[in-house]
Amino acid sequence: MLRYIVHRFLVMIPTLLAISFIVFVIIQLPPGDYLESYVAELQARGEGVDFDKVAFLREQYGLDQPFMVQYAKWVFGLLQGDLGYSFEFNLPVNAVVGDRLWLTALVSFATIIFTWIVAFPIGVYSATHQYSAADHSLTFIGFLGLATPNFLLALVLLYLANVWFGTSIGGLMDERFIDQPWTMEKMMSILAHLWIPVIVIGTSGTAGMIRRLRANLLDELQKQYVVTGRAKGLPPFKLLVKYPLRMSLNPFIADIGSLLPEIISGAAIVSVVLSLPTTGPMLLDALRSQDMYLAGSFLMFMALLTVLGVLVSDLLLAVLDPRIRLEGSAVK
């Protein structure tokens, strides 16, 4: 087991390095840099530009150095927890992002839990009542959730909550808690606001989860040991829970790897519509204004969250399934 964990951690390192390189290439892609657009903006406003200052800033931020040097500096900064400097806000990125990273992780985590809670009973019911009316309608609703663009659903829910409850459900906490220290009340306020984004983001992933659980359980239910058990007179509920359900649980955990990128993608756009204090809206602004280090650290964080999620799911799988633990890799 220990060997497997160490191996899994070692594999993660080159993956993260490659990801950081891709992120850095992408944030360097737009022609020009922030200082150039800044100068252009100043000139457009008819203000004088102090080119000495611009040159000083460029040297200060290392924008005049070759690509690889900039990349190396950035990565070493990341390792020490220094995310770089946000040009737009004129502050270190660390100070700008504040709680956003943790709130993003919180929203993603809550959504995964939500997806599980919803998908599990529905998937089991659909599999045990295959081709019944309820199976068909549940599958259809799942598909509908898959096909509806998240952002529009968020918009409509925002409107409905306004009409029915007369409250604004945008944001992730009451306004009076913003920038306040963490207290019990603030936590409760966040929990009260969390359910809308969680439902909206969860809709797209739930459908896929239901389908996979249903398919797995159906495969399992056709196997001979189930027939044997039934022939020997096991009660139906026990027959279902004892073996087939346990066998079909593996994908639930293995799927975190494919579910997480989906959820983080969904969260990015939903949080723009609902104006959540997470990474999504700020990433959008940073991309628009070419605030490269800010955008880079958000992209990096989202990728890191996914890699960590996959790691956790692999480790959990290894705990659950001795085949993986002993052979050192996932069984496909």
């Binding site: 490659a18 990801i19 598909f143 096909a147 918009l155 990015a268 756009i269």
Partner: protein, 389 residues
């Protein structure tokens, strides 16, 4: 079964009569047709039994046929502005006026500026009965941007307007814009899937056929790509497209971006299928006869898993359509004057729209229908892809 010799005591029954080799094999014509059918024919039969998939296929065919003649189907040109008719709610098309049959017609529009809320209000003018015109000359357009024409399937009545799905903030007809938008939204998925299909087959094919270090490297690359959340990466890449590019070039840029991130799933499928198939006897036989890898992959291996690939490609088109919609909604994707469903939804960005002009959200209906149809079609294709099961 083992090769161990049977002990002598194990006696078994031997039939006494002469063996007739044709005795067991008498097939009904029905069975014969089935056994002699080619693989593709079997798939078609199996697919036909999946009713929802067939219906979805027909719906998609209608959608794709409509983009060939969008200009003729749309009652107006997509850019025509009716400055007297801003934010008109959808108009109803009636058949009966005061109990007598008139044929399809609309009532005239009464406009009134409500000074309390500073909003134009529109009401039916029941004294004006305006029958629609069919197969008529209307707004000028350029067919596929080349051939000028004025012929429409249905035109607004003389002296009136026809806004079946309402108008937007510039007084442009929503129905026409949705019809024109279909051309962009539907093709973006097709071009994107072509890009990712090609990449997936080539890369997955190389990895699967050669194995070894090529396979290892490809696997690592795929892992890196898969651990990126797609949308933020799409956002970053499309934000990197220079603003100076023309809308058409941006369109191709976006399709490339959508395709470039999507190939990993296909490459994985190709690789695992190839790894399994290259151990088969027919593959060894071809190798011994001196066939080149290119010939073996293209001629012997590819046909045996093509059907699976087509099915999984169909299932990944919806995510591209949704991706484009999301990008354009955020203002990072396509830009006007190019019209796609996402660009249209960009107008429905805040809660005021939902409250005051809900018909601006209508472009989401075709998005949902198309995505659902592709999902059901893909399901049907996947079931049919293995007709022997």
């Amino acid at each position: 079964m083992t090769d161990r010799p049977m002990p002598d005591e194990a006696r078994h029954y031997v039939a006494k009569g002469a063996f007739d080799p044709y005795g067991v094999d008498i097939l009904t014509p029905e069975q014969e047709r089935y056994y002699l059918a080619s693989q593709w024919k079997l798939m078609w039969w199996k697919f036909k039994r999946h009713r929802i998939a067939v219906i979805s296929g027909i719906i998609l065919l209608i959608f794709y046929a409509s983009i060939l003649v969008s200009e003729v189907l749309a009652p107006y040109n997509q850019h025509t502005r009716h400055t007297d008719y801003l934010f008109v709610p959808p108009q109803a098309v009636h058949l009966f006026h005061d109990g007598s049959f008139v044929g399809p017609f609309v009532y005239g529009l009464k406009t009134n500026l409500n000074m309390d809320v500073l909003k134009w209000e529109y009401a039916d003018d029941r004294s004006k009965v305006l029958p629609l015109r069919f197969f008529c000359m209307g707004d000028a357009y350029e067919f596929w941007g080349m051939i000028p024409g004025r012929f429409h399937l249905v035109c607004p009545p003389k002296g009136g307007q026809l806004f079946v799905l309402g108008t937007d903030r510039l007084g442009r007809d929503m129905l026409s814009r949705i019809l024109y938008g279909a051309r962009i939204s539907l093709t973006i998925g097709l071009i994107g899937i072509t890009v990712s299909f090609t990449l997936g087959i080539v890369i997955g094919g190389l990895a699967g056929y050669y194995g070894g270090w090529i396979d290892n490297i490809t696997q690592r690359i795929i892992e890196v790509f898969r651990s990126f959340p797609h949308l933020p990466l799409w956002m970053a890449l499309s934000a990197a497209l220079p603003v100076t590019w023309s809308p058409l070039v941006i369109y191709f840029g976006i399709t490339m971006i959508l395709g470039l991130l999507d190939w990993t799933g296909l490459a994985r499928a190709v690789r695992s299928k190839l790894l399994a198939l290259r151990e088969e006897d027919f593959c060894t036989a071809a190798q011994l006869m001196g066939a080149s890898p290119k010939r073996i992959i293209g001629r012997h291996l590819m046909p045996s898993f093509m059907s699976h690939l087509i099915a999984s490609a169909t299932l990944s088109i919806p995510s591209m359509i949704l991706g484009e919609t999301a990008l354009s909604f955020l203002g990072l994707g396509l830009r006007p004057p190019i019209t796609s469903w996402g660009v249209l939804l960009n107008e429905a960005q805040n809660i005021n729209v939902v409250a005051l002009y809900p018909w601006l959200m209508l472009p989401v209906v075709p998005v949902i229908v198309v995505v659902l149809a592709f999902n059901f079609l893909g399901d049907g294709l996947r079931d049919a892809a293995d007709p022997y099961k």
